[in-house]
Every structure is written in C-alpha cells, then in structure tokens.
Amino acid sequence: MSQFASVLSQLFPGLVPILAAALGGLATEYVGVLNIALEGLIMAGGFSYVAVGSAWGPEAGFVAALAVPAAIAWLQDLYARKARADAFVVGLSVNLLVPGLASLLSQLLFGTKGVVADPSLASARLPRLLPGLPVLGPLFGLQRLSDWLALSVAFLAAAVLAWTPFGLRARAAGMNPESLELAGVRPGRIRGQAYLLSGLACGASGAALAAAIGAWVPNLSAGRGWIALVAVYLGAKRLGGTLLASLAFALLLALANAAQALHSLPADLIAAAPFAVTAVVVVAGAFLRRAKRPAVPAGGGNRAGRPPA
C-alpha cells in the first residue's frame, strides 16, 4: 500500500510539467501550427526562474519564468510570419538556441556552465491536504507551491482554450483563416496570441521543474517537451484527449520511478519505459486512424452503362 501511495504522490509533480507543456503545444495546434519548440521553451522557463530568482527572489523568478518563454514564443511566431519562414524550422532553432544561450548566460552570471543551485529557490511543500482520504490524500498531499502555481497556469490555459472567444477564434484560425477574416479578426494576431499562451504554459512547466530541485541543470526538461508533443497528438489535438494522454504519461513516469526503487529490473530499462510506450502508442494510433478512414472509391471515369432510349 505504501508503494501505491508513493506512486500517487509522485504522480502530481510528474504530471504538472508535462500537462502545462502539452497545453502549450495544444494552443498552437488550435491555430493549426505545430510548435516544435516546447522543449526549448521549458528550458527557457527553468533558466529564467533560477537566473532571476537568485537575484530577486522566487516570486520574481516565477514571473520571469512565465514572461521570458512567452516573449520568445511570440517573437518566434512573429519572425516566422514576417520573414515567411517555416514555423517548424524556426521552432527547431529555438530548441537549439535556448540551451546554448542558457549556458552562455550561466557562465556570465554564475561562472559555471553546469548546475546552478540556490536552495532558497526550492519551493516549499505545502501542508498535507485532505490527510484522511485514501487516494486524494497522497495524490495532493505535501506538494510544492510551485507545482500548484504551475497547475493553475495550466488550468488557465485550458480554460482560455476551451471557454473563451479566443479559444473559438484560435480553432477557426486553424481550420480556415478566411473565416476569421470575414469576422473582422486578423488571423495572424490570433496565431501570435496562441504562441504567447504556448510560451506561458511551457514557462510554467520549466519553473515547476526548476523549483522542485531549487536549481538550474543543463537539460532540465529532459525530453518532457517531446513527451508533451506526443501527448497532444495522442489526444487527437483535443483538450480532453490531451489531458488524458498527459495523465497517462505522468502515470508511466511515476511507475517507472517507483519501480526503480525495487532493484528487480535494470534502472535504464525502466527509465526508457515511457519512451518505449510512447513509440508503441504512436504507431498503434497511426494504424487505428488508418483503419478508420473510409476506403477510397475506385476510379470511376468510365460510365457504367446508360439505359437505352
């Protein structure tokens, strides 16, 4: 039973960064663009949290962790649109640029390219909530303030996508930008705002990761941006699906962590499990989708015969 409780307690901190980033990915999917830069934006959030937080405190750090990736994402889209560049390539360059830039700034500010630890930035655990309950107790108990904050940002992003006029416009932009033009709304602006939201959510994800350990480490995101992208696709680019897929991944990660403690399986194998499962699920999903598509009618250029007069 304590095994189970430990899995549950690890589920929450594992879920938050993936969920936030996945919602960030969903925001641009709504407007019809794949934001490949989730990984880089998470790192930008994590580094901003530590760099700004170590100077002005964790609150300022958290704000910076939201603002910096949001700005990067917005500029990334602006550049792609104004220079008519491929959004995918610009996103890839963000993924390459951010770790390099973080390393450079880290050298300048802290004199190291490696780990920057600041214990004051490690977010405090909140007192145990719902101590009596069997599942919710361990799930929500003793979690970090930073995780709750990041979760609220994620919830905000989800609410914006699901329930606001912006969410409606974003979906319209993704389906047929002309529908927005006839509504007197500039599709480019909506796309820019979607990227902004995407950066914001990824920033929250990065802040949660950095605040959990109170440090910046190179490769802080460790593939969560990619997992988040897969979660968006597995969730069929819908809100509910993305939530479920993120939850599934978080559960796998938590199980892998718990299994590591058992020593009965090689740790590397267990650590690779989520990624192996990702690969399997993606392939299976592709096959299922293909099977569902109706068969293409055979070419019918010739007439089948016409009735006589």
Binding site: A172, G184, G300, R303, R306, A309
Partner: protein, 494 residues
Amino acid sequence: MQLLACSGIHKRFPSTGTQALAGADFFLEKGEVHALVGENGAGKSTLARVVCGLLEPDAGTLSVDGRPVRFRSHRDAERSGIGLVPQHSMLAPGLTVAENLALGHEPRRGLAFFDGRRAVYEAAMLADRFGFSVPPDARVSDLGPSGRREAEILRAVARGSRVLVLDEPTSILSEEESSRLFALIRRLKDAGTGIVYISHRAREILELADRVTVLRDGRTLATVGARQLDECSLAELIIPTGACASEGGSRGSAAEPVLEFRGAMTAGGAGLDLTVRSGEIVGVAALEGNSLDELEDLAAGVTVPGARQLFLRGRELHGDGRDAAARREVAYLPTDREGRGLSARSPARDNLLASRLRGYSPRAYAGRKRPREDAAGLAAAFGIRGDLSRPADALSGGNRQRLVAARELDGRPGLVIAANPAQGLDPAARASVFRRLLELREQGSAVLLLSQDPLDLAELADRSFILYRGRLSPIPPEGLQEGRLSSLLTGAFA
C-alpha cells in the same frame, strides 16, 4: 445618393505581378440588384474583396452614402453594413454554424467566457427570420452545399447588411436551392438592401438584376440597364464575339447548361471557360499540340479537374468515383477508339451493348436472344460487318471504329463528347455518324465536338471555338470557310 460608390479602384498583386484592377468604377443604389459580370480574371472577385474590406486597394476611393470610407479589415466594412457571401466557403468547417456566425462578435458570459448557448439562440433567431432551415448547432463540415451557403448568407446578413455582395452564389446550388436564394434576394432588395451579384449565368442575371456592370481586364467597360439586354447581348458584352448578329437566334442558349468548364486548367496555360447546353453542338478545333486531348481527357473524366472547374448539370465533377452516377448520361466517343473505346478481347457484341447493359435483366442478357437482336440492329444501322460473337479484335479497323460510334451514339445520352468523330471513317459512315449527332441534338442532347478538322465543326457545330496555345477563342461562322482554315488553325484568329 449612391449607397456605395467605388471609383478608380486599382489593385495589383505583387506576388504574381497581376494587375487585377486598373481603374474599376462601380456604383450601387439602395434597393437594387446590380450584377457584376466579366470573363474569368476580369477582376470581379477582386473588386468584391475590396468592397468588403478584405483587400486594400492601391488607389481609388470608396464611399458609402456619399461619405468616403477606408476599410482596413472586413470589420470596417461590416460597420458600414457591407456583408459578403464569398465564392469559396469562408467558414470554419469544424465549428458549428452558430459558432461561425458568432466569430468576431462572440456573445460573452461571466468574466470573459464565450456564451455558446446564446450564440445558438441568436443563430436560430436569425435563421428563422430568413426562413432558413440550417440547424445552428450543426457542424459546418456535416452540412451539404446548400446548408453551407445558407450559413454563409446568414453570416453576411447577421450584422444588418445594407450592402450584400454575392460572389457566384449559385455555383454549388441546385435549381431549387437557387430559386429559394433568388426569393431571398428579392426580399432583401425590397427591404432596401443594395445587392452586388456576381455570376456567369446569363439567365440568373437577367432574372434578378436591375443593372449590369461589365468588367474587362480590371476596368469598368460599361453599366447598362438589365432590361435592355437579352442573353445574347449580355454574353456579347462579356466576351465580344459578333455571334449575336450572325447567328440566327443563337440556338439553344436559353437551354440548360449541361457541361461547364469554369476556368479549367490545361497544361497549355490559361483557364478555359466553356458551356455546352442541351440541344446544341459546341465545337472546338485545334491543331495537334494545342491540348485538345487535354480538354478531351478533362471532359471525359480521364484526368482530374481542379476544384470547381468542371460541372455537369451544375454539379461539380471530381474526376473520380463520385462522378459515376452523374456520368451515366454521358456518351464518350474517344479519339483513341481502340484503347479507350474497346475491350479488344471481349466479343464484339458485348462491346456494342456495353452502354445499355442496364437495360437488360441478367436473365435477358444470359438468354442471348434479345441482346443478339439488339446488337444486330445496331450493327445494321451503322453498317458494321463481321461476326459479332467473335472478339472485337477480329473486326476490321473500319468496323471497329463504327462499333464504338454505334455504341456511344445509341440511346439518349444527355451529353455526348465526340472527339474526332469522323476519324477513320469512310464518307458513308461519316455521314451516318454526323446525321446521328444532329439527331441527338434535336432530341436535346448537349454535344461537345472536339476535332482537329475544322470541316467537322463547319458541318455540325452551332458555336465554334478554336483552342490555340491553351486559350479558347470563338470563331465567327464565316471563319469556318475552307479558304481561311489554315490561318484559323495557326492562331490568326486567336
């Protein structure tokens, strides 16, 4: 006071380098239906987009009620009461009708939330006011063409349109849906709405319009009262051919269009516009290498036309299995008789009866008596000699030609595509094929005659065109006289 005035509108598209509008003028009064006509590429849709604020003109002025206006987006135009029903759908397919209507003017609830229920309610009220049946909570992608068009119209009138711009609104509608649309247009007109009506269909324009403005090469050519026009003079305004005077009554132009090319692309270049109506023979002549075969392939469904480029009885042809039912009424006499027209190893009789298999019950066909008699009758009528129970291969070349012609010209096809019909036929067979084509025309078939021999056209066609370097140009009847044929085919007329 003019409701809407556009003067000296210029618009160039830098990316393609085309000067779409070069000084277009257009004036719309309250409560009038004003048709905007012109060839493809004359600038109609561009002018519509400028009027609706979707494009900013390079030069020229717009004014509404005498006040100069400048539209930076459609929202500005909307504020002046201008709504657009675009040629191609501008709806978001995955959203519902109500959501599409609400877009840009979303009703809100609470802090900043979209009030979906209110949007459905508003859309339902609006649909009710116009007597539309489109369900507000249906996804646009689940609607048929008329439902989409209704949604499109509702969106245009949702903000209280004073000016309604309709860009080829009937192109995807059936006859009945169109007449419902016309009723609506008349109602809006009576209520004082000014209507800009863009269409290629002369009949609709004459039925609806009070005035007609003709665009050519981005300029306004003329604005005339619709009552002074008939179908022929209207067509003459759009593309001057001299056909009205010389062609007695322009046979069949009042008849229903059967096959329509609308800006269909061939490798030759420009988009082709051509309409074949029931009860007429439209001829197209060309020398080899002028993509006559491409035109044939498009018409016959061998190649896939572009979206909304080819229509059979107003219904779009896609060049695939979706056309199967519509193509049942199409007879096709291919240039490549042997390759396309014959199943060489099947018995000649089966080849001959292939187009009327539907007329037999399986038993009747298996019983052989009736098909045997029918085939013999057809063979006699077209002078086919040879053993019909042997493979088609076994017939002589001339008989194989006649077999294909006999099969395709049998029955009552709605549309006949006759490609080089005289090819490989002796004078007697040629005469019987031609006689049959004229007979079919009298019976109301539409005939598209494609030929490398202008003499075929001279004998058969009611209207003739020359295809030269990917462009269709009308040929006046005297152009088909023998002495002028060579200059004709080398493009002197084009």
